[in-house]
């Protein structure tokens, strides 16, 4: 009963936090902007659009033919006048020929159209990125502000069970993130289904495709929860929101940009395999293939292929798990051992 009280109280506390509210709202507004933008920048492809594209392609072709003809005439006039001083024209004016009609494809002139089957998976990465950022900052602020304002100390006077209090707070945060992510995911899917339906295509949606989207969404959910837990853990370790935010900034600037530059100078192969975003992308896309164009791997046909290295979502999962264990383990250890002053 006491545990339930504490859990519901922490959920209430989270919902009352103004910064968390505004942060979530800002994240959702970004997502709404993306969804609305995608809706209005795509169009359904029908006979009218295809006819228009054909018309534009045809017009381009004709313009090009006319320009080529004009150019050839100028060339012939110049040759007839004995003017050979300019490099403007080729030696033989007959070489000036218009490109073939096939070089002007109607496809190029078709408006953007949203193919749900092809494109929805990529939008899940956008959704995950925005919500993971909200989760990290929100998680850090939730516990960091408690520490820095003395709220945590007050709470511990009421519930002198440090680990239970910390884990209940984390549980409340993660369950709120779970709820927000699932709800947003449902609206996100509906919004892009609508975009596909009215501004593109929702064809060829088999059970297998839905399953694949489901698994991508699940990986996205896990990443969002991990981001929230990491923000929470770092802020709890430092007992201040700024530690988590500063820590991440430090990792990004020093650990990523700095490391990238150093590795490039040291001519290390597959620099991206040392950079965090590669692993996050691999987690979402299941696999990222890195290429090294400095080395040649001859194929059977004698073609020169770059060396490749695959980063899989399993590699990423190890990295995420280790990060989570180190940060949360450290936060729990610190909560158990350190005095609260």
């Amino acid at each position: 009963m006491g545990g339930v009280n504490l859990y519901t109280t922490e959920l209430r506390r989270l919902a009352k936090r103004r910064f968390v509210r505004y942060l979530t709202l800002a994240g959702l507004l970004v997502l709404v902007a993306v969804a609305v933008g995608m809706f209005f920048t795509n169009q359904k492809i029908g006979p009218a659009q295809i006819a228009e594209a054909e018309r534009v392609a045809d017009r381009d072709y004709r313009q090009n033919v006319a320009m080529t003809e004009q150019y050839r005439k100028e060339c012939e006039q110049a040759k007839a006048a004995g003017d050979t001083s300019t490099d403007r024209f080729p030696t033989e004016c007959a070489d000036i020929q218009p490109p073939p009609r096939e070089a002007f494809q109607a496809d190029w002139h078709l408006p953007a159209s949203f193919d749900f089957r092809e494109e929805f998976g990529r939008t899940l990465t956008t959704l995950t990125a925005v919500l993971a950022l909200v989760a990290f900052v929100g998680g850090a602020s939730f516990v960091g502000a408690e520490w820095s304002t003395g709220g945590m100390m007050n709470l511990l006077l009421w519930r002198p069970q440090r680990i239970r209090v910390l884990l209940t707070k984390l549980g409340a945060l993660l369950s709120a993130l779970f709820g927000v992510t699932v709800l947003t995911g449902v609206f996100w899917t509906a919004a892009f289904w609508a975009t596909g339906s009215f501004r593109g295509s929702t064809a060829k949606m088999t059970a297998g495709v839905w399953q694949s989207f489901g698994l991508t969404g699940l990986r996205g959910l896990v990443l969002i929860l991990v981001a929230g837990a990491l923000g929470f853990g770092l802020a709890s370790l430092g007992r201040h929101t700024a530690l988590a935010l500063g820590g991440v900034l430090g990792v990004m600037v020093v650990g990523q940009f700095g490391l990238g530059i150093v590795l490039a100078m040291a001519q290390v192969r597959f620099i991206e395999s040392w950079l965090l975003p590669t692993y996050l992308l691999a987690w979402m896309d299941k696999k990222v293939t890195l290429q090294n164009w400095d080395a040649c791997q001859a194929s059977f046909t004698g073609e020169c292929q770059p060396l490749t290295r695959d980063i899989t979502w399993q590699n990423s999962s190890v990295l995420l798990a280790v990060g989570l264990v180190v940060v949360l383990g450290g936060a729990i250890w610190s909560m158990r051992r350190r005095d609260i002053t």
Partner: protein, 343 residues
């Protein structure tokens, strides 16, 4: 010192024995914040917990409430050993430690409501305690708009929310206006009358003397005095007498006579302070025998402030700037440590 058998008979709500806490810092070295500190508070009392800045008061309270891990000693609240039994007894202990600290963007009502939720206390109690501390009208305002005194009231309200058996208030009068201080005084009296035990740490010694039944004085992490206020004052008045004579010119003769009679005499311009006499009649008899007549004979009274300053050796000395760790321990030896702030 209080009678040992009487002490054992009365129920102790709070017991601390030999509490030790050492802070280790790479930069400042080792500092003993608590060095075998003892404390005992009996049920239904208002108990003053006094000590100069940096003496270990807040460390004691934080350790008692499980916020700081001690290096040794034992503590018990309501007969149960803490920190082991803290989860059990926490519901019966209301406390504010040091300055009131609340999340600034929540209202007082939200703050208390969340605490009540976490502690399983009825939400109806929230408005009751806000009414009690005079914050009902401002209950929905954000805490960041509160003055220090209002935050202090909110802190007291949060401590009272549980209707505790033991109420621990660290500097509750801090920031309060004179009316507020008086209200706080009567509130503490009322709470004690209702059976609640109140431990109050304060530097307003006049207040403490007025409202407290007993006190513990701490200096450099050790207890230097404890017991009922009257007993502590009596012990440190030195049993002295102030003596005035009809003629000031007779004072030197009186000094000689009283010294010869075995008393210790401290002469002043118009009176004498006489110590180590078995009873006041000895003074009158000795002087009357030499035809010196007493115009005033009164026991020397001391207040808590002077006892405090004497025991902790923190009385200001002209031309000197006392540092926070410059006070004495119980045996009077000056054992200055490497410490500083950070009670």
């Amino acid at each position: 010192m209080p009678d040992v058998t009487r002490e054992a008979e009365m129920a102790a709500v709070l017991e601390i024995e030999g509490l030790r806490k050492t802070y280790r810092s790479r930069r400042r070295g080792t500092r003993q914040a608590l060095d075998g500190f003892d404390m005992r508070v009996e049920a239904g009392q208002v108990h003053g917990f006094l000590g100069p800045n940096g003496s270990g008061k807040t460390t004691t309270l934080r350790t008692l409430l499980g916020l700081i891990r001690p290096n040794g000693g034992r503590m018990a609240i309501l007969g149960q050993e803490v920190p082991a039994a803290l989860p059990t007894v926490a519901g019966q202990v209301g406390a504010i430690v040091e300055s009131p600290q609340f999340f600034p963007h929540f209202s007082a009502q939200d703050t208390l409501s969340l605490l009540a939720g976490a502690g399983g206390v009825s939400q109806t109690r929230v408005m009751e305690v806000l009414e009690l501390v005079g914050l009902r009208e401002r209950a929905k305002d954000r805490v960041k708009t509160y003055s220090l005194g209002m935050k202090q009231r909110l802190a007291v309200a949060s401590a009272l929310l549980k209707n505790p058996k033991l109420l621990i208030l660290d500097e509750p009068a801090n920031g309060l206006d004179p009316g507020g201080i008086r209200e706080m005084r009567s509130l503490m009296r009322d709470l004690a009358a209702s059976g609640m035990t109140v431990v109050v740490s304060s530097h307003i010694l006049g207040e403490v003397q007025l409202i407290c039944d007993s006190v513990t004085i701490i200096s450099l992490g050790r207890r230097v005095a404890a017991g009922p206020v009257a007993e502590v004052l009596a012990e440190h008045s030195g049993g002295g007498l102030r003596v005035r004579l009809e003629a000031v010119t007779d004072l030197p003769a009186a000094v000689e006579l009283l010294t010869r009679a075995g008393a210790r005499v401290s002469p002043h311009d118009d009176h004498l302070l006489v110590y180590e006499v078995d009873k006041p009649a000895t003074v009158t008899r000795t002087l009357a025998a030499a035809n010196l007549y007493v115009s005033e004979l009164a026991p020397i009274t001391v207040d808590l402030e002077s006892v405090f300053l004497e025991l902790t050796a923190t009385a200001p000395v002209p031309g000197q700037h006392r540092q926070v760790d410059q006070s004495v321990v119980v045996d009077g030896t000056d054992s200055r440590t490497n410490g500083g702030w950070g009670v």
